[in-house]
Symmetry: C2
Subunit: 265 residues, 2 copies
C-alpha cells in the first residue's frame, strides 16, 4: 500500500510503470477484459469495507480477472486517493501506453496529437472525446501532461483504457511519423483561413487524419503549425472569444468521424 501511495508522484509512476485509477467507473474499466484477449491492466484493487459491500459486481469482475481485492481502512483509501471525497475504490494498474510506432502500425484512421497540452483535466477530456469520436489513438507530445496523472485519468472517465495512448517528447517527430504512416496532418488553430465546415466540403476530412491540438493558453507555435498539411479553424459564429481545447477537439474529431463514415467505400 505504501508503495502504491507513491504512485501519486510522476517519478515513481514512471519507475514502476504503474498508476492508480479511482472510483467505481474507472475500476470497472480497468477490470474489463481487453478485446484482444490479453491480460488486462489491473494488478490490484484497494477497497474500503463499505465499497466492498456496495460493489459486489466489481469484486466478482476482479475475481474473474484473477486480480487481488484488498480491503483497506478508509484512511488508506484517503492516502491513495486524489479526490476530496474518495469513493472507497482504487485500482493499481500497469501502464497502458504503447510506442508511437506501435500505435501507427495498427493503420489508424483517426488520431489526436496533443502538443504541449499541460492541464491534466483538459488532456483527460480530450482522451474521452477522442474515444467517443471513435479515434484510434491519442499522442501526448512535447511537454504535454502525463496521461497517468490522477486528474487526467479521472477526466478520461475510463477512456485511457479504450484507445491507443502514446507519449513522445518531440512534436515534430510525432507529426513526421504520422505522415509517414499515411495520415493527413491537420492542425486546429483559430488563426487558420480554412474553417472546419469548408474543410468538410472539400472532402479533406475523409482522409485518414491526425489532428494536431495545441496548448490551452497559447495554441500551436508557428514552428509546429507549419508541420501540418493544412491548418483548420473551428468557426466562431457568435461573439465568444474562443472555445476550450476539449470542445474544439471534439468538434474536429467528430467532423472527421462523420466525414470518414460517409465517404464512399
Amino acid at each position: 500500500v505504501k508503495r502504491s501511495g507513491r504512485l501519486a508522484v510522476r517519478a515513481f509512476r514512471t519507475e514502476q510503470r504503474e498508476f492508480l485509477v479511482e472510483g467505481p467507473q474507472g475500476v470497472r474499466e480497468a477490470l474489463a477484459p481487453p478485446a484482444d484477449g490479453r491480460v488486462g491492466p489491473c494488478l490490484e484493487v484497494y477497497a474500503s469495507r463499505a465499497a466492498t459491500d456496495r460493489h459486489d459486481d466489481l469484486r466478482r469482475a476482479a475475481a474473474d480477472a484473477a486480480v487481488a481485492w484488498t480491503v483497506v481502512d478508509d484512511d488508506v483509501i484517503a492516502v491513495l486517493s486524489d479526490t476530496v471525497t474518495p469513493q472507497g475504490l482504487v485500482a493499481r494498474c500497469r501502464f497502458v501506453d504503447t510506442s508511437l510506432a506501435a500505435l501507427l502500425r495498427r493503420s489508424p484512421r483517426l488520431v489526436a496529437i496533443c502538443a504541449d497540452v499541460r492541464d491534466p483535466g483538459n488532456a483527460g477530456t480530450v482522451i474521452r472525446c477522442a474515444d467517443a469520436a471513435g479515434a484510434d489513438g491519442v499522442v501526448l507530445a512535447g511537454s504535454s501532461v502525463d496521461p497517468y496523472n490522477p486528474k487526467t485519468v479521472r477526466a478520461s472517465v475510463g477512456s485511457v483504457f479504450h484507445l491507443g495512448l502514446s507519449m513522445t517528447p518531440d512534436v515534430a517527430e510525432a507529426v513526421a511519423a504520422a505522415r509517414a504512416a499515411g495520415l493527413s496532418v491537420l492542425a486546429a488553430d483559430a488563426t487558420a483561413d480554412l474553417d472546419l465546415d469548408a474543410a468538410d466540403d472539400t472532402q479533406l476530412l475523409e482522409l485518414p487524419t491526425a489532428w494536431l491540438f495545441g496548448n490551452e493558453a497559447w495554441g500551436l507555435p508557428d514552428t509546429v503549425r507549419r508541420l501540418a498539411d493544412r491548418v483548420v479553424n473551428v468557426p466562431i459564429h457568435g461573439r465568444a472569444e474562443s472555445l476550450n481545447l476539449a470542445t474544439a477537439a471534439a468538434l474536429c474529431l467528430y467532423a472527421s468521424a462523420r466525414s470518414q463514415r460517409r465517404a464512399p467505400g
Copy 2:
C-alpha cells in the same frame, strides 16, 4: 463595497438584480458597448492598484462608458472574488437576462434550453459553446443553476453578455413557448434512436431549433423528453461511456449551425 460583497449570495443578487464579474476578460466584456446602442450592464469596476496600473485600456473603456473605476485594497478584492488567486479586477453589473417571451419575440433560429442543469461550471460552458455556435439564446429552465453564480459567469468567459439569457422555473412551459414561437424542439438524449448525423441527413437540423439538454448526471426525465418533437443522440463511435454535457451541447448546436447555414436561402 460591503453591499457588493454580498452579491456572492444568490438571494442578494436576486434582490439587487446585480452580479459580479471577475478578471480582465470578463470585465472587458462587461464594459463593451452593447450592439443595440443601449447602456451597458457594467455599473462599477473595483480594481487593485496593481490591476489599475496593468489595465489602462480597461480604465479607459470604463471612462468611455461613464462607469466608476474604484481603486481598492487587495483584501477588498479578495472579499469580492470567488477565485483562489484573484486577478485584481471585479465588475459589478446589472442583470442581463430577459423574459422568455422577450427572447422568443426576437425570432431566434437557435436556442439552448437547459433543463435542471445544476453544475455552475457546466452551465457556463454551455453558454460559452452556445455563443460560439451562434445561438441566439440560452434558457436556464427548471431547477437549473443561477447564471449569475460566480463559477457560471467565469466559465462563460464573457458569453453571458453576448446572447439572450432567460430563466424560467417550468421546463414544460419553456418548451411550449419555444414551439409556439415556431421552433422545432429537439431533445438531446443518449437513449434516442435517431443520431445527430442521421438527423442532419433528413434536413431536420435546418429548421429553427430549440435544443433541450438535461441534467449532467441523470439526463432528461421521461416527462420532459416526451415534450420534444424529436429525440436525438450524439453518436458514441468508440467505447467512451458518454460525453460531458457541454461537449454534447457543442456538437448539437454546431450541427444545427452548419445545417442552417447551408440550407438553401
